[in-house]
């Protein structure tokens, strides 16, 4: 066990956990921030996607000891009132079915648009490849990303 101080969504938190604890579980079990999901534990499904200094990373494989002073952003923190361009576009296209993968999809999509404000279909396919949607909402996700890019 060791003490860590984390910046999450602009706030500071003190936690005491084993240094090997992945950020995913620090968020879910210790900070009770439940928007970031567990899907596979081996960075293959994308449900756990967060931002580290604005870059999309899979939190299930990221030990708390490795993040240093980097700022974490989770789904709960990508906008004040849930009204980012991406979230608005998601609502416009009524994207979700079961909804479990959607936070991770939105985090990956947000990072993509920061990197490439006008992504091509191929850019979207590549950036979103790591996010599985078992219910098959891919066509709506793509449409929402394009809507957000154009807004």
């Amino acid at each position: 066990m060791a003490k860590f101080n984390l910046e999450v969504n602009g706030q500071n938190f003190d936690v005491e956990v084993d240094p090997s604890t992945p950020i995913l579980w620090v968020l879910r079990d210790h900070l009770k921030m439940l928007g970031t999901k567990y899907g596979c534990g081996i960075a293959q499904c994308g449900a756990c996607t967060i931002h580290l200094d604005g870059e999309a990373v899979r939190s299930c494989g990221l030990p708390i000891s490795s993040i240093d002073k980097k700022a974490i952003t989770t789904i709960e923190g990508i906008s004040e009132n849930g009204d980012s361009k991406i979230q608005k576009a998601w609502l416009q296209h009524d994207v979700p079915q079961c909804g479990y993968c959607q936070a991770g999809q939105i985090m990956s999509a947000t990072a993509l648009l920061k990197d490439k404000p006008s992504p091509s279909d191929e850019d979207i396919d590549i950036a979103m490849h790591g996010n599985i949607c078992r219910c098959g909402t891919y066509s709506r996700i793509k449409a929402a990303i394009k809507t957000a890019a154009n807004s």
């Binding site: 084993d18 849930g82 079915q97 079961c98 979207i124 709506r140």
Partner: protein, 750 residues
């Protein structure tokens, strides 16, 4: 016009006192923004609520809470079921709040999510709930204004007596209306008068989903909650021998290690009590990571079990189920399948004289199709929360059929069924897997043993290797042609491990003078269960690929060929037990032919057609494929569906898009194999799932317009996709593929 007696409904419409708890996950009410604009309208809460019946309560300010009875797994009944109530109640959809009903058999009946049965089974009861409440409001206004009830009309939450120019709101009248008796008969609206049903409404949970609000089973929290994980045998055919938990018990954050057995000795299982591993070890600790670390260090030994036969009280009545001993491998499965496929099976239907037709045939085509076991792989792994106290149980779990697990819970815990409460949080996917709720029993037993609230979580590996798979199937089709190249007979022999997929009375039975259907099955200790459109999810692909070859051999257009057979089945059916409506089946083929511009396509489009009937609905797909450097890409899918009245059109389109994408993924990649009882795939680096770049570029969904009460949408569009993929591959490459997965580990065709 429907006038329905409410006497059956009366039991359901208990005028209950305020529901305590009310099915709120984490005390989190879903304030609904149900408009099409994106800005949120936050509803003011009333000072007082008035319960009209189990399904709805009206606030003194006119806000309405509707309790949605069935668990949600992405089929969006949390929007469409309340729409049914709101329609007949006649309220402004913007004033509706949706809450999840807890499990409560007396109030909500059969809270079953599966079989594409939800909307169909709730179509009348939910409308009756809304209509009877509206009646009570009108009756209360009539009493207060001393006018006949016939003179009271409503419009979106307002009561009118036009003759005396008086109005009042539902909110103002709600207090008086709760004393009005539930009417014995109630008139429902005609389809032409629908204002809410048939219009697209946004998912009531979308805002919460995109902002990461906790909603799923895995998100459930409770004071003092511990985390548990199980360890199950690595292979089917094995059971627990011993466990040495000394090292694990000493690890940081670990509270206890317990052994559980999911069934009491002699308990007679039901059809959904499937469980390959009833004896388990569970590690209980303070946090997930600590328990995951402990799991790695657990010393446990397993041993092979002996064969057994038990009585299962399934949906087809009592059956004897035989579980063989041994460690099974896919290689030996395939050998057994080949063996059984070449022997006579059990004849389940025979029309005319198929033997003669084949004997006299000028030409015979024979083709065999196969598909492997599939894992459901819901994104949310299995999990359940349970808090078992002396004589009282509280459960919160993502589960498809709460009604069915109750007897098992009561038996295994030794606690009366009446003392078990269950909340129904959202499921992160079901597809049939969460109908088998062994994980709920496990969580409860663990909680009972450690005497604390416990959340049980399955790792992805635990989940993928736990069983209850889609079976492995095989089918051999034979067609006989006469000297004029006309189809004279079809012979189907189908089977699987451990059950046959055959539906003897489905198309093309009924359209052929000579027809023979046989089946076989091979026992296995690998457990199976319902997987989105069970049996259909294999038969459709095999049948529709075969009909494609037959149409080609007969020199006919594939759509016209099917339509001609359906015409025969409609005008002059063979036999009486034909399980489809030929006219509705032809309807989707005609619609997809029109909408896909069949016959007018550019020469570089390689199209596969497929159509199927299952779960009471009809679906047809035209799928366009391109192949670049051997890599297939589905460009477009045009889909036609007849599911009766479409309650929420855009949500239904989303479901169809999802089913199509799911089908393409499973047809291309889905596969689970075994080596000595062990599943060879344990996580997504091994089990390939369809991803963004592989999904169709464009999907169009068209619905046949009719006034048939809604049939089903979750499953029907899924099975025919496998045939459309197979037929498009043939058009794109000139080669027919008969074994799924069509791509497997390869990226390329050929």
């Amino acid at each position: 016009m429907s006038i329905l007696k409410t006497s059956i409904g009366r039991r359901r419409f208990l005028k209950s006192s305020a529901l305590t708890g009310g099915g709120l996950v984490l005390g989190f009410s879903c304030f609904v923004s149900c408009q099409t604009k994106t800005e949120e309208e936050v509803l003011a809460m009333p000072d007082e609520w008035f319960e009209m019946n189990s399904y709805l309560k009206i606030g003194d300010n006119g806000v309405v809470t509707i309790y949605t009875p069935n668990p949600e797994f992405g089929q969006n009944v949390r929007t469409s079921m309340p729409m049914l109530v709101a329609e007949e109640l006649d309220v402004d959809w913007k004033k509706v709040i949706v809450e999840q009903a807890p499990f409560h058999a007396k109030k909500y009946g059969f809270q079953f999510t599966g079989g594409s049965r939800g909307i169909n089974s709730r179509w009348e009861p939910l409308r009756m709930a809304g209509a009877s409440a509206r009646h009570m409001l009108r009756a209360a206004a009539a009493k207060q204004w001393e006018v006949p009830i016939e003179e009271i009309s409503t419009s979106e939450g307002v009561l009118h007596h036009t003759l005396s120019d008086r109005t009042t709101s539902y909110g103002e009248m709600a207090a008086a209306s709760v004393d009005i008796p539930v009417p014995k008969e109630i008139k429902l609206k005609e389809v032409k008068d629908f204002k809410i049903i048939g219009k697209s409404h946004k998912n009531v949970d979308a805002k919460n989903i995109v902002t990461g609000k906790p909603m799923f089973g895995l998100d459930y929290q409770a004071e003092g909650m511990l985390i548990a994980m199980i360890e199950h045998p690595p292979a089917f055919g094995m059971k627990l021998k011993w466990v040495d938990d000394a090292a694990v018990k000493a690890m940081p954050g670990i509270v206890d290690v317990v052994s559980i057995n999911s069934f009491k000795e002699g308990y007679e299982k039901g059809g959904f009590d499937v469980n390959a591993f009833p004896e388990l070890v569970a590690i209980v600790g303070n946090s997930t990571w600590e328990v995951m670390q402990a799991k790695k260090k657990l010393k446990v030994e397993w041993m092979p079990f002996t064969a057994k036969t038990e009585t299962i009280n399934g949906f087809r009545g009592k059956e004897e189920k035989h579980t063989p001993a041994g460690l099974e491998s896919t290689t030996e499965h395939n050998a057994r399948i080949e063996e059984l496929a070449s022997k006579p099976g059990k004849i389940v239907r025979k029309d005319g004289n198929p033997e003669q037709a084949f004997k006299n045939a000028a030409k015979v085509i024979e083709r065999s199709y196969s598909a492997p076991f599939l894992a459901h792989n819901t994104m949310e792994p299995l999990n359940a929360f349970a808090h078992v106290q002396e004589d009282k149980v509280k459960i919160a779990a993502p589960i498809q059929i709460p009604n069915f697990i109750m007897p098992t819970l009561a038996s295994s815990l030794g606690i009366e069924l009446e003392n078990i409460e269950m909340e129904l949080p959202r499921m992160g996917g079901g597809f049939g897997r969460k109908a088998y709720a062994h994980y709920v029993v496990e969580a409860a037993l663990i909680s009972q043993k450690v005497n604390a609230p416990v959340k049980l979580i399955y790792s992805r590996e635990d989940d993928m290797t736990n069983g209850i798979y889609r079976p492995a199937y095989q089918a051999t089709y034979k067609a006989a042609f006469d000297e004029n190249n006309k189809l004279t007979a079809i012979h189907i022999k189908a089977g699987g491990i451990p059950e046959s997929p055959l539906f003897a009375n489905r198309f093309p039975a009924g359209a052929l003078d000579n027809y023979l259907a046989e089946e076989w099955a091979i026992d296995s200790n690998i457990t199976i269960g319902a997987f989105r459109a069970p049996r259909s999810n294999f038969m459709a692909g095999a049948e529709q690929a075969f009909l494609d070859e037959v149409a080609e051999a007969a020199g006919e257009d594939p759509i016209q060929f099917r339509l001609d057979l359906l015409q025969r089945a409609k005008e002059n059916p063979v036999g009486e037990e034909n399980d489809y409506d030929a006219e509705r089946y032809a309807g989707v083929l005609n619609l997809v032919r029109e909408k896909s511009a069949w016959g007018n396509e550019k020469s570089n489009k390689h199209r596969g057609i497929s159509a199927y009937f299952c779960h009471n609905s009809y679906a047809a797909h035209v799928l366009d494929m391109e192949v670049k450097d051997g890599k297939p890409m589905v460009t477009n899918v045009c889909c036609a569906i007849d599911c009766g009245i479409v309650v929420n059109p855009d949500a239904a389109i989303n479901m169809a898009e999802g089913a199509i994408t799911d089908g393409i993924g499973n047809a291309f990649y889905g596969e689970l194999t075994f080596k000595e009882g062990q599943p060879e795939k344990k996580n997504f680096h091994q089990y390939r799932m369809i991803r963004m770049g592989e999904a169709p570029k464009a999907i169009e969904v068209h619905f046949v317009k009719n006034e048939i009460a809604p049939t089903g949408m979750g499953e029907p569009p899924f099975p025919p996709i496998f045939g459309a993929v197979a037929n498009a591959i043939y058009k794109a490459t000139g080669v027919r593929k008969y074994k799924q997965p069509f791509l497997g580990d390869k990226e390329v065709l050929g």
